[in-house]
């Protein structure tokens, strides 16, 4: 294990994770809104926001999938020291982190069971940037309509059609984070 893996966690975990969770909660409850989180310094290629999301939501009881470039020794060591989540394949994962391209095909991820739709994966999708421009979002959490630069629309429309099953997404870029639960309807206008 390299010494760098010991750095980059929260310095005051209870308060920092509380503040970060509120931002993540607002992001997930209001799809399309872009929030800022801070406090983590994960190794490359993970963004600050992806690192924060992992520190706040994952622990030894959640199975984590590292996709593409995110599956590297530095990230594995960092996850092992700060989080302790078992790293698993996509089919078993509770959480997955990687770029949208690396996460493909997303049909591998768990969408929950008809009687337990909560047993589904949460994807942390690394993006270059997040802006309120692009496909239109409607549904729970959105008063009229909001916009977010999603990587595509067809997959999210297919995911919505599975409701109440489906996976949920957090999009991360730098310190920015946005949410897209399965309940959101996505349209290319």
């Amino acid at each position: 294990m390299i010494a760098d893996a010991l750095e980059g966690g929260f310095t005051e975990a209870p308060v920092q994770s509380a503040r970060a969770f509120r931002e993540i909660l607002e992001a997930m409850a209001r799809p399309g809104t872009i929030r800022r989180v801070q406090g983590a310094a994960p190794p490359q290629p993970l963004s600050v926001a992806a690192g924060v999301a992992l520190l706040v939501l994952t622990d030894p009881t959640t199975r984590l999938h590292l996709a593409g470039q995110a599956d590297c020794p530095a990230v594995r060591d960092w996850v092992a020291f700060h989080i302790g989540a078992p790293v698993v394949g996509a089919e078993e994962a509770d959480f997955a982190v990687g770029t949208w391209a690396a996460l493909q095909p997303v049909s591998r991820f768990r969408i929950g069971q008809p009687d337990y739709p909560d047993r589904s994966a949460t994807l942390i999708v690394e993006c270059d940037r997040l802006v309120n421009h692009g496909p239109a979002l409607t549904g729970p959490g959105i008063e009229t309509v909001s916009w977010l630069n999603l990587p595509e629309t067809a997959t999210f429309r297919a995911n919505r059609s599975l409701f109440p099953l489906g996976f949920d997404c957090l999009f991360t870029a730098g310190q920015q984070i946005a949410g897209l639960p399965r309940s959101t309807r996505v349209e290319n206008l």
Binding site: A13, R19, R22, P114, D118
Partner: protein, 291 residues
């Protein structure tokens, strides 16, 4: 660290970090599937079941040090349950507290929605005794889970129909079931049905915690929650046909208070902050004194 030691050597907001992560994951899944009851590993809290252990755990998982917390019990800020939960979080999370609905960022509530409209940025946390709306019709969890899975809610309509057959109207007056976004039937906790219209299209985040029954569910902002009814018996709210005797409000939910053993009684707003705010503005009712 000093603030934590001064707060009595508790971890921030009492619960340990792993417990809070588990609750936070359940809250996010609840937000993603509005109205669906997410199982969670409810902890024992330093208060008995029935005193809001579910709500307290949800509040603990959401609080940040900058929050201003309001706690109400049947609308009142000054009853035992509200006072003790407020003190609990003052001591373990060091948050400031308020009785004003407009100043609060997190509001934990037992069985009421404040009269003052909520706003974006606020979180309303409900204490829920029995989260399963079908439980009194079907005691088996395996069966009610299957009914939610199959969207088989005929039994609930039969129950409401039997109300009409027996009483001439839908007699359910609290914990009145709602259908969320056309999918899950949800128990809004035992709020009076007077409050049901405020559930729907609310700009605040609404979270529901049932400690003994180990369930968390949620209504994201602007989510549709329709009270179940029939075309020829549409849903109607109800309240005591009086004005508040202290502030004169005609549109607020009222408590009936027995004042003597001669049949004397008065009706007062159940929402103490709303009532006090009106009296401060100079409104008075039948028995109220001008401020």
């Amino acid at each position: 660290m000093t603030e934590i030691i001064e707060a009595g050597a508790y971890n921030f907001a009492y619960l340990d970090e792993q417990t809070k992560r588990m609750i936070r994951r359940a809250i996010l899944k609840g937000i993603a599937v509005p109205g669906y009851q997410v199982p969670f590993a409810s902890r024992e809290m330093p208060m008995p079941y029935g005193w809001g252990t579910g709500g307290v755990q949800v509040t603990a998982a959401c609080l940040v040090p900058e929050d201003r917390l309001k706690v109400i019990d049947q609308g009142a800020d000054d009853t035992t349950n509200a006072v003790s939960i407020r003190r609990f979080f003052q001591r373990t999370a060091g948050v400031s507290v308020t009785e004003a609905t407009t100043e609060a960022t997190v509001i934990q509530t037992r069985h009421r929605i404040p009269e003052t409209p909520l706003t974006e940025g606020q979180i309303l946390v409900y204490q829920v005794p029995i989260p399963e709306p079908l439980r009194f019709l079907e005691p088996r969890e395996t069966e009610t889970r299957k009914m939610h899975e199959l969207e088989e809610y005929g039994l609930m309509h039969v129950k409401l129909y039997e109300d009409i057959a027996r009483h001439g109207q839908i007699a359910t007056s609290y914990a009145y079931p709602v259908k969320v976004e056309g999918r899950y039937v949800m128990d809004p906790s035992p709020i009076p049905k007077f409050d049901n219209p405020k559930l729907s299209g609310n700009p605040a985040i609404q979270l529901f915690g049932a400690g003994r029954e180990q369930r968390i569910y949620a209504l994201p902002p602007w989510t549709e929650a329709v009270s179940l009814d029939f075309d020829d018996h549409p849903f109607e709210t109800s309240k005591a046909p009086h004005d508040c005797d202290l502030c004169g409000a005609r549109d607020s939910y009222l408590d009936e208070v027995i004042t003597d053993d001669q049949g004397g009684r008065m009706f007062v707003c159940s929402d103490t902050d709303f009532c006090a705010g009106r009296r401060a503005k100079g409104h008075t009712g039948r028995l109220g004194e001008a401020a």
